[in-house]
Structures are given as C-alpha cells and as structure tokens.
C-alpha cells in the first residue's frame, strides 16, 4: 500500500499501528491526495496526531496549527487504541479522521457589576448584525468603540464600553421606562434598541452618545402593547424594522419599529383598572402601538422566537409545549412543526433558542450557571433516553468568574446564566443571576461565519 510514514518510530516501539485516512472541510489546510492515508501508532492521542499533521512531511505548516480530530462525529479524547477498543474495532480498520482547527478555551476577561440579576446581553460591533445594519444610517461602529447592552431584573437597560464603563442607563418606570424586569434586549442599529419585559411591553429606544463617547442617552420612543403575559424573548431585523417576540401568554408577536405603520394599541391593555397609579406618575408621552400580528400556535408559553439569520422572511419559535415551529412571518403561516421530546436537556435547549447556521458552532447558556460552547460538527444521534434527535457534546464550558473555586451550587442557585452574545470583536458575553455581565475571549473561538 502506498502510504507515507511520518517520523513516529519513537512512539511506536511496543504499540500496534492503525491505518488512518485524514479528511478536512477546510480547503486551505487540505493534504495532497497522496498523503491522506497513513499508518500511525495506536497509542497516539489528539496531540500526537496534531504533531504528525503539522510535520514537514505532511502539511509542513510554518507555525504549528493545533488540530482536533472527529471520528464519526465525536471528538477523539482518548488514544486511538482506546477508541478502537471502546468501539469494538480491530486495528485492521481504516479510521477516517476529520481534522479541524482546535478551539482554545475562552479566557475570562472582565465582569460588569449590576444591581440585580442580568437577564440578557447584546453586542454592537462592526461585525455584529446591528453593526452592519447601521451602515444604512451611516454610523459605522469604530473598532474599540464596541458597545455591550445589558438588561436587568431591576427593569433597566445599561450600555457599556468594553472597559466596563456604564455609558447610559435607561429611564426608570416613572420616566417612560419598563415597569418590571427586562427579559430581552437587542440592538436594531447603532442608534436604536428594542427591549422586552415582564411588564408585557416591548419598548423602542433611541440611543445617542456624547462626542467623547463616555456618556450617552437612551430615550424611549415607542411602547408596544399586545401580549397578555411577560415577553421572554425578542429578535430584531433592522433593514425591515421588524421585531419578533415570544411571550408566556403562548403567542408570538410580529411588530414594526416604524410608528406610522404600526397599528393602534388595544386601549384595554394600556389602562386597566390598576393603571391609575402608574398613570399618575408617568410624565412622558411615548407613543403607544399594537402588533402587526399575533399568532397563538403554541399550547404553552413561548420561550424564544428568532429570525433565521440568513433569511429574515423565516422565523423559528420554541415553546414549553416541546415544539419548535418554523414560520414565514410575512404571512405568519405555520408550515412546519417539529416535535421535540420531553427531556430536561431539551427543555434547557428550548429556553434559549440561539441562531445556528448549517455549519459551525453554537453557544448556549444553561441553568447550571455555565456557558457552553458547542461544536455542531461534533454530534451524534441521540438515544431514546435523550429523546432521539441530534445530541452534541459541549467543547468548552465557561464557568462564572464570581463562583471561581467554589462548588457549583445546587440548582445553579445564584449563578444561572440567562443570556449570551457572541461577538468576533468582544468575545463571549454572558448575563447571569450573579448580577454580572461576564466577558470571555479566546483565540480561535470565533463565530462560524467569521473569516
């Protein structure tokens, strides 16, 4: 057989060898046809294989590239020998090894303190969606002037720079702000923000900064009424001025940020019998509007609703009724319903439906107070117990810095992570019950669609 033998003789003295076939999906690091097949010692692990690939006779990389290896959708975490034994394979087998650039664990960078639990975060940078949508209004995001938006259970939105200086805070409930905890907030553009709350409203804010960029103002410009329960999640699409919302009332809302094309708000939802007290103290006259559409396709609270990041005419919603639904929000017809199994893992999954693309990585916040980075390339078919479907393994688990060195508390008490944003410039930004926004950053841990 025509195989090349790398210089691994030192490793192989009393171990067997196994035939491997290297593949990759990255054309820039592809091996020439004749070098893909290789006989390697069975006692090598990821590191050894990575060294072999980087060697002069193989890829001959100018600087070593750390690689990870996927066999049948699972990352190799043992020696090849152990893998063969665990999977009942003989060393006569040819193992197909897909190599990918290793992810470096994201390191802790900073924490921003809040007065109460932090429910959500978003990032504005030149590469974030809202940053690119800002091109319309000719306000590009300058490198180094990235902004972090956080929403808190104290009902306030805060804008931070990367060094953790609070640049702006939204107005209190008596001055046009939310009257209960904020659950979700997103940049629509560098100058526009949307937020949703347990107070059943979505609010649109105009954001402006002083010339020195150390102070700014968040001015309420629109209040949106229609949901009958708290609004756990919103997503925005800047170019079309559309907002999508998910509520505990079991419905999904589609809204516009354009005051003049928004329908009138249902008066009965604004001034109920108890609103008197609030009215007396409200000094602002923010316009109030209703939804373009409300759809009640779920039979339980809706935990998340998102636009397809590649096609905003398609949206997805996830609900406590254990279904994920696909919608075309233009007509709001439901054309696909996929049932997910009743499973705790799935439940956590449904709480935070994050944008995914066909390839690449996904970031998830979970109830146990960690933030997990998933690699969608590493996946396997779930067992019956796991509710079938596709099951993945987290590549990295980011712990809360506030909890460093301490035992993970029962029920994730005090450290549950409620929101996460992933930005090329800023890193992995997470919001938690520990009253902190935490930033982690690592080489190689970038979003999949980044170059």
């Amino acid at each position: 057989m025509d195989t090349e033998m790398a210089d691994t003789s030192a490793l192989s003295s009393h171990y067997g060898q196994v035939q491997v076939h290297f593949t990759t999906n990255s054309p820039d690091i592809e091996l020439p046809e004749g070098k893909r097949q290789l006989l390697v010692p069975t006692n090598v692990r990821r590191y050894g294989l990575s060294q072999i690939l980087n060697s002069e006779s193989m890829l001959d990389t100018p600087a070593p590239i750390p690689f990870d290896f996927l066999i049948n959708g699972t990352f190799l975490r043992t020696t090849l020998e152990e893998y063969l034994t665990a999977n009942g394979l003989s060393s006569e087998t040819t193992l197909s090894l897909q190599y990918v650039r290793s992810l470096i664990p994201p390191l802790f960078e900073a924490s921003f303190e809040h007065d109460d639990w932090v429910s959500c975060v978003d990032v504005l940078s030149s590469s974030s969606l809202a940053g690119t949508w800002g091109a319309n209004v000719n306000v590009p995001v300058v490198l180094g002037q990235e902004r972090i938006l956080s929403g808190s259970y104290d009902g306030l939105l805060r804008l931070w720079n990367k060094s953790g200086q609070a640049i702006a805070t939204s107005s209190s409930s008596s001055a046009g702000g939310h009257t209960a905890s904020i659950k979700s907030a997103k940049f629509i553009s560098p100058t526009q923000i949307a937020s949703s709350s347990l107070d059943r409203t979505i609010r649109i804010w105009k954001y402006s900064e002083a010339d020195d960029h150390f102070s700014g103002e968040l001015k309420p410009v629109l209040e949106l009424y229609g949901h009958l329960g708290g609004i756990d999640s919103i997503d925005v699409h800047g170019p079309s001025n559309r907002i999508l919302s998910a509520s505990t009332d079991g419905s999904i809302g589609l809204w516009t940020t354009a005051k003049n094309s928004a329908p009138a708000a249902d008066e009965a939802l604004i001034s109920g019998p108890n609103a008197k007290r609030r009215k007396l103290t409200t000094s602002t006259n923010t316009p109030q509007r209703g939804p373009l559409s409300l759809i009640s396709s779920h039979t339980a609270p809706v935990s998340a609703a998102i636009f397809n990041p590649l096609d905003s005419t398609v949206a997805y919603s996830a609900s406590q009724d254990h279904t994920v639904r696909t919608m075309a929000p233009a007509e709001f017809g439901t054309f696909e319903v996929r049932e997910l199994a009743r499973k705790m893992k799935e439940t956590a999954w449904l709480e935070r439906l994050k944008e995914t693309t066909g390839r690449g990585r996904r970031n998830q916040s979970v109830r146990d107070g960690t933030c997990r980075v998933w690699d969608l390339r590493s996946s396997r078919t779930g067992t019956k117990d796991e509710g079938n479907g596709v099951v993945g393994e987290a590549v990295y688990v980011i712990e809360r810095e506030s909890q460093k060195g301490k035992k993970r508390p029962v029920g994730g008490e005090g450290i549950k992570v409620y929101g996460v944003a992933w930005d090329k410039e800023v890193g992995i930004v997470s919001a938690s019950e520990d009253k902190m926004v935490q930033i982690n950053r690592g080489r190689g841990v970038t979003r999949p669609n980044d170059p």
């Binding site: 009965a268 109920g272 029920g411």
Partner: protein, 381 residues
Amino acid sequence: NIDPASLLPKLPKPEELKPFPTVCSTLFRGHEGRVRSLAIDPSGNCLASGGDDGTVRVWELLTGKQLWSAKIGDDEAVNVVRWRPGRDAVILSAAAGEDIYLIVPSVPDVNPKMEAASKELLDTGFGYATNATQALTANGQKKEPVAKWTRPSSRLQDEGVLIKITVRTTVKVISWHRRGDFFSTVSPTAQRSAVAIHTLSKHLTQIPFRRLPGIPQTVQFHPSRPLFFVATQRTIRSYDLQKQELVKIIQPGARWISSFDIHPGGDNLIVGSYDRRLLWHDLDLSTRPYKTMRFHSKAIRAVKYHKGGFPLFADASDDGSLQIFHGKVVSDMMENATIVPVKVLKGHKVKSALGVMDIDWHPREPWCVSAGADGTCRLWM
C-alpha cells in the same frame, strides 16, 4: 394464604418510567422561617408560597425570582396558599390565622383585562352578603354569621389583596372546587364549624356538616362528580353534595391522616399520614387500602397526584425528602394500578424536626415543587 405481592406483575425499572423529576433546578429564597404551603398557578408560570413570616409570595417559576409579596399575617403564619382553578381569572387564596384572603397579585399574567375579570369575580358577591337574611337563634336573637366577608385594609387592597373572609378559628386547609366558584376550608379546632364551604359569587359561607366523627384534617372535592371528601384523623368520608348523604367511609388504617389526594380519573386515592404511612386506595375495590407503603422515617405531610397527564405522584416528609412514584391507573376495573417508587429527592434541611411541608406538581410538565421548614421552596425537574 397467598401473599398478594406475589400476584403482582414484575415491576418495571425506574429508568423505563421516565420522565420524572430527578434534580433540584431552582431554589426560591426569601421567606423567613418555615414555608408552610405552596402552589403552582394554572398557567404554570408562577409559584405561590406562604409561611411563618406571615407573607404570601409569588415567584417566577423557572428562575426563582420573587415577583410579588404581601404580608397578610401580623403574628400569624400563612398556613395555606391555593390558586383558584381555571384560566378565566387569576385569583390566589391564602389563609393566616382565622382570615382567608382572596388576592389578585400583580404578576405578568395579570394583564389589565385579566385584572378586571378577576376583580369582577371577587366583587359580584358583595350585594348578596348584605341582602341575605340572617338566621335567628332559638331565643330570637340574630345568629352570629359563621364567616364575615369584608374588604381588608387599604394597604392590603393596594397590593391586590381584595377580600378578607374571617371565620372562627385558624384555617389550615383551602380546597377549591374545579369550577372555581366554591372552595372549602378546614379549621380543625372549630368543632361544629370545622369544615366550611364558601361560594365566591355570593360571598356566602355555609357549614355542611354539623356532626363529624372526629377532628377534620383536610377536605377535597371530587374531580368530576358532585362528591365531597372529608378526612378526619382515622377515616375519609365521601358525601354526595346534592343528596346531602354519606356515600362511603374509607379506612386507610393510618393512625393520623395528614393529607390525601384524589386521582384525576376519580376512582383512586392516595393518603399520607403522620405515622409515616402512604396508602393507595382503589375506590372501586374496597374501603381498605390496596397498597400500604412505609418508606419515610418521619411523618408524611403532603401527598399529591400529577394532574397534567403524567402517571406520577409524590409525598413529602419531615425526614426532609420527597418521594416520587410512578402509579399508572388502568381503565380495567379488575386490574390494579402498578406503583413503582422511582426517585427520592433530597435537599431540604430538617429544622426543629420538620422537613418538607407541602408539595405541588406543574400543570403540564413532570416537574414538582416543595416547601421546606428550612425556609426554601425548590423546583425539581
């Protein structure tokens, strides 16, 4: 003599009976002193709790964040909190001392429309109370009413606590009829008026039984038929509410019944007792228990069936644990339920010999909540 256990089919393994709650996923902290009672609202979004600190609190179920609270007991513990069934209104009932309160808490589910509907349900009865003719005693004096329906202080009204019903002695139990117009309360020390039935739409309180063979512990309306169950220390009696007659006397064989619950199908019943027994009764079969279980080392304080489609039930004990059981009721009259203990949930600390005081199930999910003497509530998933 055949051991009945030998006739039972082989029990399936717990892993085959998933889903059931296995881990604590949220803690609810804020109460000072014991949490005595808790209940998940019909929407499944909120948890209500009440305890020794005299407060009623409402929490966001999934996060454990407190959304609302009111102090209704000055020196009295809140002994019980129960939501009115139904999704047409959001009404929470709670009792502290001899006062029962009806509350519309300001939580996200109570939007202005729901608030108006809820308040209307609470207020329609005000006319009846003043118009009702009062019974006269033998010597022609006006008889003291068994209960007074009034407005609480304006401080409480501002917080959404809208009706106060005062009875004669401390209320320990509130139990709603499924339609949401009647609820029953138990004041064990009130002797002849220990069991009361209240009609919300008329602000009317009636005493259905003048003579009960023992001290009433707890009561329940049947989930579908016009039957009413009253547990005394030793027995549970079912009464036909329409015919006003005794239907059945159930004899669990426990020395002191603490709690019972009726299976949503209506033909089975679980009973918990202070003498550590958990009993399953098949009402078609016998007035004696079909199965007696003793798994706890201390008193059982609460038992509850899942009412949202899962064949699960749970008990709560002063040993600090909850036990989860799988209990599938089959429609075949001749076949008995298969009962499998599937999980012991530990975490509550035992304080002054008291452990878990109350439990409830989520209306849809296989999740349960527990109230502890350690001052916490816990959500188990």
